[in-house]
């Protein structure tokens, strides 16, 4: 879960860039779920309007660095609207940038700890077993 400040006046452009995305995360291996959004915090009383932020949060397999490197490449046009975005060229810089903007997760609930691939295989086999039972056959 990371929160990145958006450059002044670029929240609308960031939102438009997000909405214009196709399915980039289909190309990021190990991605179960991901959301990216412009987040506008509510103002505190007697303070000015806070700046908007970009929220990126994902459930993915494996350590964060390779995932971030791949996600960074796919989201480069969106992340370019964030302050201090180093570009997607250097995975180490991407990881450093993301780590600095990480929100510590207090706790979490996740439906399963299987990998994306394991889930896919399991769903496929479940469908196969169901079909075999319906047809009264065995493998």
């Amino acid at each position: 879960m990371l929160l990145a400040a958006l450059l002044d006046g670029e929240d609308a452009a960031a939102r438009a860039a997000l909405r214009a995305l196709g399915e980039p995360f289909a190309r990021v291996p190990g991605t179960h779920l991901v959301r990216v959004q412009v987040l506008q915090p509510p103002p505190r009383r007697w303070r000015g309007r806070p700046r908007p932020y970009l929220l990126l949060a994902a459930e993915h397999d494996g350590p964060p660095e390779p995932w971030l490197a791949a996600a960074g490449r796919e989201l480069d046009t969106v992340l370019a609207h964030c302050a201090f975005w180093p570009g997607a060229g250097d995975p180490a810089e991407v990881a450093r940038w993301a780590l600095e903007r990480r929100v510590d997760v207090g706790f979490s609930v996740v439906a399963t700890d299987a990998t994306v691939e394991e889930v896919g295989v399991a769903l496929h086999r479940q469908a196969e077993v169901r079909r075999l039972i319906a047809e009264e056959r065995r493998p």
Binding site: L3, V34, V110, A111, T112, R138
Partner: protein
């Protein structure tokens, strides 16, 4: 119906943030909060984070215009109304432990004020993707559990009796 994402940002006073910092490690250790939520078999993922500093990036100047907040991200099957109903009717104590001190949180005696609170504090998700949009939490869990039984069958003598045993063991996982 594909799973749905929900992002809720709840401003909290300093003393509630303190409570969160103290109670969360204990909750994590004991599984006191997570265990019943796991049993609510429509939650793909739920994560709570405390945003005490905006932005989290310490090299940047602190944005004092943004309040200390509890950030809740979840992805779920079914409708938001049913999600809230489950929280209010099944795990009200845990929800109070998370939100009891949040500004404007109406308590968990009734669903409708909580629905209103969530509407007022949720933020639209601009881009959402999931690997298996047709697979619910229950389907994934069943499929994974079935796989274990199926592997055992494939490693057996694969007789009629073994097939009957496998399909009987797996009948609630189909």
């Amino acid at each position: 119906m594909a799973p749905s994402p929900l992002t809720i940002l709840s401003p909290v006073p300093w003393w509630w943030a303190l409570w969160i910092r103290v109670s969360w490690p204990l909750a994590r250790l004991t599984g006191f909060v997570a265990a019943p939520l796991q049993k609510l078999s429509f939650i793909h993922a739920a994560r709570w984070g405390l945003v005490a500093r905006w932005p989290p990036d310490r090299a940047a100047r602190r944005d004092r215009g943004a309040p200390r907040s509890l950030l809740f991200l979840t992805t779920f099957d079914g409708s938001a109304v049913q999600y809230i109903e489950a929280f209010v009717r099944v795990v009200p104590g845990r929800i109070m432990g998370l939100y009891g001190g949040a500004q404007g949180f109406p308590g968990v005696r009734r669903s409708r004020p909580v629905e209103r609170y969530i509407r007022e504090h949720s933020h639209p998700v601009d881009h959402f993707w999931c690997a298996y949009p047709d697979a619910t939490v229950t389907m994934k869990r069943q499929a994974l559990a079935l796989t274990a039984h199926y592997d055992a069958y494939l490693a057996s003598d694969r007789s009629d009796a073994a097939w009957r045993r496998f399909t009987t063991q797996a009948q609630t996982l189909l």
